[in-house]
C-alpha cells in the first residue's frame, strides 16, 4: 500500500499544475476562452499538446506518454482546480479510451498522432432523449448496407460535440431498444453527409451539441470493438471517464474549500474576520471532511478504473461516483453559503465551481443510479 507519486508523476503534476495556473490563475481569462468559436482557446489546446498532455494515456510505442489512471487523475485534478474548459475529457480520456480498447493498430497509428498533436478532437455521442443514464438504452440504429452501415437517430447533450472532428457514436445493430446485446460503437466524421449538429453552451460554461444522424453512411473500418458487442467497451470507457470526472471534481472541491477558507479569513463583519465565528468554522471543517472523503474515493476509482473484470470494476467506480456526487453537492452548497452574496454572482469563481460540480453530478449517472449499482452488486462488505 502506497499513496506516494513516483518522481515522474510528480514532474507531470508540477507541469500540468503550472500550465493550468498560468492559463486560469486569472479567472477573467476563462471568459475570453469561452468566447472563442469552439468554446475554448485553440492556443491553449496546442499548449497542452506541446506539454505531452494530449498523448497522456496512449502507449509509448504508438507515440503516447504511457500514462495510466493515476496520470489521468493528476491531469483531471488540475483541470478541476482551474475549471478549465478544454475538451480533455471528451478527446483524451473518453475518445482516447475508445481508441485504446476498440481500435485496431492501423486506426490507432492513423489517429493517435493527430490527437497527440492537437489537430483532432473527439466527442462521445451516447445520450439519447429517452436513455437517461442507461448505457444499454440505445434507439439510434445502424443498418447494414453492403459492407458498411447506415446510421439514423438522435444524440443529445454531446459534450464538446459541436467542435469535435470525429464523434464516437453508439448505435443499435441488432435487438430491441434496451437489449444489452446488439450495440455497436462507430467512429464517425463530424462532417459526414447526413450528420447535423446544433451547438449550445452548457450550464457550467462548457460546450455541447445535439446531433442528428440522418442516413449517415460509414464503412466497415468505422466500427470500434466488435459488431453487436459494443456495450462492454462502452461500460469500460465510461468507467474510465467516471474515474477522471471524480478527479476533476476533487480538484474543483479542493479549490472551493481553499477559497472559502481564504474568504472566511479576510471578510470582516462586526469588526472581526467572520472565520472567528464557530458556526462557520464547523461548517468549514465539515467541508474539509467531505473533500478528503471524495479524494479517497477518487483514488479508489483511479485504482479500479482499468480493472479488467467488470464485476469488480463497476461497483467500485459506482461507489466512487456516489461519494463524489454527495461530497460535491455538499462542498458546492456550503461554499456558496459561506461566501455569501459574492458566490451568487457570475463575477467570482466560487459560483462557477459550484455549477461545474452540480453538472458533474449529472454526468454518467447520478447518486441514485450509482447507488443502485452498488446495492445490486452487494460486494463491498459481505454478509456474515
Amino acid at each position: 500500500m502506497d499513496f506516494d507519486l513516483t518522481d515522474e508523476q510528480r514532474l507531470l503534476k508540477d507541469s500540468i499544475d503550472r500550465f493550468v495556473d498560468d492559463a486560469y490563475g486569472d479567472f477573467e481569462k476563462r471568459r475570453r476562452y469561452q468566447a472563442e468559436p469552439a468554446g475554448y482557446d485553440p492556443r491553449l489546446w496546442a499548449g497542452l499538446a506541446e506539454l505531452g498532455m494530449l498523448a497522456l494515456p496512449f502507449a509509448e510505442e504508438e507515440g503516447g506518454f504511457g500514462g495510466g489512471p493515476v496520470e489521468t487523475m493528476i491531469a483531471m485534478e488540475a483541470i478541476g482546480r482551474g475549471l478549465a474548459v478544454e475538451p480533455f475529457l471528451s478527446t483524451v480520456v473518453l475518445g482516447g479510451g475508445f481508441l485504446r480498447f476498440g481500435a485496431d493498430a492501423s486506426m490507432r497509428a492513423a489517429l493517435v498522432p493527430r490527437i497527440a498533436d492537437g489537430s483532432l478532437t473527439l466527442a462521445f455521442a451516447q445520450l439519447e432523449p429517452a436513455s437517461r443514464y442507461a448505457l444499454h438504452d440505445v434507439s439510434t440504429t445502424a443498418r447494414r448496407d453492403g459492407d458498411g452501415f447506415v446510421l439514423d437517430g438522435r444524440k443529445v447533450a454531446v459534450l464538446h460535440g459541436d467542435s469535435a472532428g470525429k464523434l464516437v457514436v453508439s448505435a443499435r445493430t441488432a435487438g430491441a431498444r434496451r437489449d444489452r446485446d446488439g450495440i455497436t460503437v462507430f467512429l464517425v466524421d463530424a462532417d459526414a453527409p447526413g450528420l447535423t449538429r446544433r451547438g449550445m453552451p452548457t450550464q457550467d460554461g462548457l460546450r455541447a451539441a445535439d446531433v442528428t444522424l440522418d442516413a449517415v453512411r460509414v464503412g466497415p473500418e468505422a466500427v470500434l470493438g466488435k459488431v453487436d458487442q459494443g456495450l462492454p467497451l462502452i461500460e469500460k470507457v465510461v468507467d474510465i471517464g467516471i474515474a477522471a470526472l471524480c478527479a476533476e471534481a476533487v480538484g474543483a472541491m479542493e479549490d472551493l474549500q481553499r477559497n472559502t477558507v481564504d474568504y472566511l479569513k479576510t471578510r470582516q463583519q462586526f469588526g472581526v474576520a467572520i472565520g472567528s465565528f464557530q458556526a462557520l468554522q464547523h461548517r468549514a471543517a465539515d467541508m474539509l471532511v467531505a473533500v478528503e472523503q471524495a479524494r479517497s474515493m477518487a483514488m479508489y476509482a483511479a485504482m479500479m478504473a482499468e480493472e479488467a473484470d467488470p464485476a469488480l470494476r463497476r461497483p467500485a467506480v459506482s461507489a466512487a461516483k456516489v461519494q463524489i456526487n454527495q461530497s460535491g453537492r455538499k462542498v458546492g452548497q456550503e461554499a456558496v453559503q459561506l461566501q455569501g452574496g459574492i458566490a451568487m454572482t457570475l463575477e467570482y469563481k466560487a459560483g462557477h465551481s459550484f455549477k461545474r460540480l452540480a453538472m458533474i453530478e449529472k454526468s454518467f449517472g447520478d447518486t441514485d443510479h450509482h447507488l443502485r449499482i452498488v446495492s445490486e452488486a452487494d460486494s463491498l462488505i459481505e454478509a456474515e
Binding site: 500500500m1 506516494d4 468554522q281 471543517a285 479517497s296 479508489y300 454478509a383
Partner: protein, 394 residues
C-alpha cells in the same frame, strides 16, 4: 500509488484472521458481535490470550513487549481484530497509561507496572474527566497537596469507564493552583484500594454499568507514583489523548456490524419474504458502505503518511477520522435498530423471547450506547475546532 496490500501484508492479515477466529473463544466473540457487555473475566481471558502471543501491546516500545510493525501492519491488526469481533485489548492499559509510562515514567515505574499492565494483572481506569471538566479538561479541580513526602488527593472524577473492575487509576490532578490552568496539572498513579476512595456506579441509558463516579477524600499517594515531572501532566495527557484518537474510527467494527445487519435482514421476515427484499433498505446499506469505504481509504492515507511524520506528534487528520468514524458507527447501530424494528422492544436478556432468537434483544441498548461515540475522545464539536485551527488556520 498502489492501494493494494503487498503479498507480505496479505500473509500477515491472513495469519491474524486465522489466529483471532481460532484462539479467541467463540462465545466471547459472539457477545461482542451482538454488542453485549462483557464480564470482567471475559475481557481478561481474551486480553491474556492476546498477550500470551505478544499481541496485546503491539504499539508499545519493542523493549517492553511492543512490535516493530509498520503503520500498515498496525492498521491491519486493529482492522482484523474488530472484524473478527475480538474485544479490543483493554484500552486504558494498552493505548493510554502503558505508552505514557513507557515514554515518561521512571525505570522503577516501568519495571513495576509495564509487564503487569500488559498482562492485565493490573486493570487500569482513567481519571481525567470531572463533573465540571469535560471538553474543557484543563479546568479540572481534583487537587493533590504535597504533605510529608506524599500527595494527598481530594476531589471527584466522572465517567470512569469500567472503574468498578479497576485495580489502579491514572489521574490528572492539580498540583499548583496558582499557575495557568494547563501548567499546574500532574499525572498520578493511584491504587484503587487506598483509603478514602469511593466508587459510585452510574447506569447509562442502555442499562449497562459501564461508567462510575470516583470520589477522593484525603487519599494518600506515595510521591514515587508521580509520572514524569510535577506540573507537566498536561503534556503527558496530550500525548495520551493523541494515542486515544488513532484507531478511533473503528472501521473494522462498523464493517462487522454491516455484515451482521445484512445477515439479520435476510433472516427477518417481512412482507411475505425477507427484509432484504426491500430495495430501499438495501440502498441505505449501500450508502453507508460507500462512506465507510471512503473512510477506510482516508484512514489508510493517514496511516501511510505516518512514514513521513514524526511518530510522536499527533496528526490532526485523526480529527477527520474521529468525526466520520463516529458518525458511521452510529449509522450502523441505527441501521441495526431499524432492521430489528418491533423486535428491538423486549428488554429481557434471558433468551426466551422471539427477538433473542436472532440476538436482537441487545440491539436497542447498542444503539443507545453508541450515542457516546460522538461525545467521548474529544466531542465531534471539539474535533471540528481542532480542524478549523490546525488545518484551516481559522
Amino acid at each position: 500509488m498502489d492501494l493494494r496490500f503487498t503479498p507480505e501484508e496479505i500473509a500477515f492479515r491472513d495469519e491474524l484472521r486465522r489466529f483471532f477466529r481460532t484462539e479467541i473463544p467463540a462465545e466471547i466473540r459472539r457477545k461482542v458481535s451482538e454488542g453485549r457487555h462483557l464480564s470482567k473475566d471475559e475481557i481478561v481471558t481474551s486480553h491474556r490470550i492476546l498477550n500470551a502471543h505478544g499481541l496485546a501491546t503491539p504499539n508499545w516500545p519493542v523493549a517492553w513487549g511492543g512490535k516493530d510493525w509498520s503503520p500498515v501492519q498496525r492498521y491491519i491488526f486493529t482492522e482484523e481484530l474488530q472484524r473478527a469481533a475480538v474485544p479490543l485489548p483493554l484500552q486504558f492499559n494498552v493505548y493510554m497509561v502503558g505508552p505514557v509510562i513507557a515514554a515518561f515514567g521512571s525505570e522503577e515505574q516501568k519495571r513495576r507496572f509495564l509487564p503487569a499492565t500488559a498482562n492485565l494483572d493490573i486493570w487500569w481506569c482513567q481519571g481525567f474527566s470531572e463533573p465540571g471538566a469535560g471538553s474543557d479538561l484543563a479546568s479540572l479541580k481534583t487537587r493533590a497537596e504535597k504533605r510529608d513526602g506524599k500527595y494527598v488527593v481530594s476531589g471527584q472524577k466522572a465517567w470512569t469507564t469500567l472503574g468498578q473492575h479497576a485495580d489502579w487509576i491514572f489521574c490528572l490532578v492539580r498540583t499548583d493552583r496558582e499557575a495557568k490552568k494547563q501548567r499546574g496539572i500532574s499525572f498520578l498513579l493511584i491504587d484503587m484500594k487506598s483509603p478514602g476512595i469511593t466508587v459510585r456506579p452510574v447506569l447509562t441509558i442502555d442499562g449497562g454499568h459501564e461508567v462510575n463516579e470516583v470520589f477522593f477524600d484525603e487519599v494518600e499517594v506515595p510521591a514515587e507514583n508521580l509520572v514524569g515531572e510535577e506540573n507537566k501532566g498536561w503534556d503527558y495527557a496530550k500525548f495520551l489523548l493523541a494515542n486515544e484518537r488513532t484507531g478511533i474510527a473503528r472501521i473494522g467494527m462498523s464493517k462487522q456490524r454491516i455484515a451482521r445487519a445484512k445477515r439479520l435482514a435476510r433472516e427477518v421476515q417481512a412482507g411475505g419474504g425477507s427484509l432484504w427484499d426491500d430495495v430501499d433498505l438495501r440502498r441505505r446499506v449501500a450508502a453507508i458502505e460507500v462512506e465507510l469505504k471512503a473512510l477506510e481509504i482516508t484512514q489508510m492515507r493517514v496511516v501511510a503518511a505516518q512514514r513521513h511524520r514524526d511518530a510522536d506528534k499527533p496528526d490532526p487528520a485523526s480529527s477527520i477520522l474521529k468525526i466520520k468514524g463516529s458518525e458511521l458507527q452510529q449509522a450502523t447501530t441505527e441501521l441495526l435498530l431499524d432492521i430489528a424494528g418491533p423486535y428491538a422492544q423486549p428488554a429481557q436478556e434471558d433468551g426466551r423471547n422471539a427477538a433473542a432468537e436472532h440476538g436482537m434483544d441487545a440491539i436497542a441498548p447498542l444503539y443507545f450506547n453508541a450515542r457516546k461515540v460522538s461525545i467521548y475522545g474529544g466531542s465531534n464539536e471539539i474535533q471540528r475546532n481542532i480542524i478549523a485551527k490546525a488545518f484551516l488556520g481559522l
